[in-house]
């Protein structure tokens, strides 16, 4: 089993690549790999509540976020420094996350087998 990091550092909305990126993470989990999803930089905004893309017929990624545990993806990390920059706290997120410092995250990232970035 390999450890695969999937790093989101931009908004997932408005670009089909965001949805396709999450598809990769789900497939990795389906292949029994250890998946760690990391949100940093602008990417922390992808987790906020009250996203309403439906009026623009854009894809809503929130159901995918809520389905992560079904795929056995339970390691969702968020960088604390990015949360501070964007003025966000965990209670504002759609799903429960593990907020860690950049340094702590890097220590885990250094041990990953492969890294995917969006």
């Amino acid at each position: 089993m390999k450890t695969l990091f999937f790093i989101v550092n931009k908004s997932l909305q408005g670009n089909v690549c965001g949805q396709e990126f999450l598809d990769m993470a789900l497939m990795a989990a389906a292949f029994d790999q250890k998946v760690v999803l990391l949100f940093e930089g602008e990417g922390v905004n992808a987790l906020v509540k009250n996203q309403c893309p439906d009026s623009m017929e854009l894809k809503n990624i929130v159901p995918v976020l809520n389905a992560l545990p079904i795929y056995d993806i339970n390691d969702v990390l968020v960088e604390e420094e990015s949360m501070d920059v964007w003025g966000l706290v965990e209670e504002e997120f759609e799903i429960s996350v593990n907020a860690l410092s950049r340094k702590a995250i890097k220590e885990q990232l250094n041990l990953a087998d492969h890294v995917f970035s969006f």
Partner: protein, 96 residues
């Protein structure tokens, strides 16, 4: 960890925010412009302790950037060297 960075600006800045000791950065494509020693201070003006920064020579040559114009701490590789960097470092993170 090896960072392969193909854009300057925010992409490079975000990469520099997360690097740590023993990391390696390879500037490719348009990111090689970040290696040029400009009149004002820039994100690569100072060497980052413990981090080695390379620029991909064919991308420099394609853009007519002379090594003499670049910061002294930058090192250079060709594609064979790029492959060596991948072999010597893991994981590999592409920043684009």
């Amino acid at each position: 960890m090896l960072y392969i960075v193909n854009k300057k600006g925010d992409v490079l800045r975000n990469c520099l925010d997360t690097v740590s000791t023993n990391d390696v950065i390879l500037l490719t494509e348009g990111a090689v412009y970040a290696a040029v020693n400009k009149a004002q201070p820039s994100v690569l003006s100072e060497q980052i302790s413990g981090v080695t920064i390379y620029a991909l020579l064919p991308d420099m040559q394609a853009r007519g950037i002379d090594v003499a114009r670049c910061y002294e701490h930058i090192q250079y590789v060709d594609y064979a060297g790029f492959v060596d960097l991948v072999e010597q470092n893991n994981p590999v993170r592409s920043c684009y």
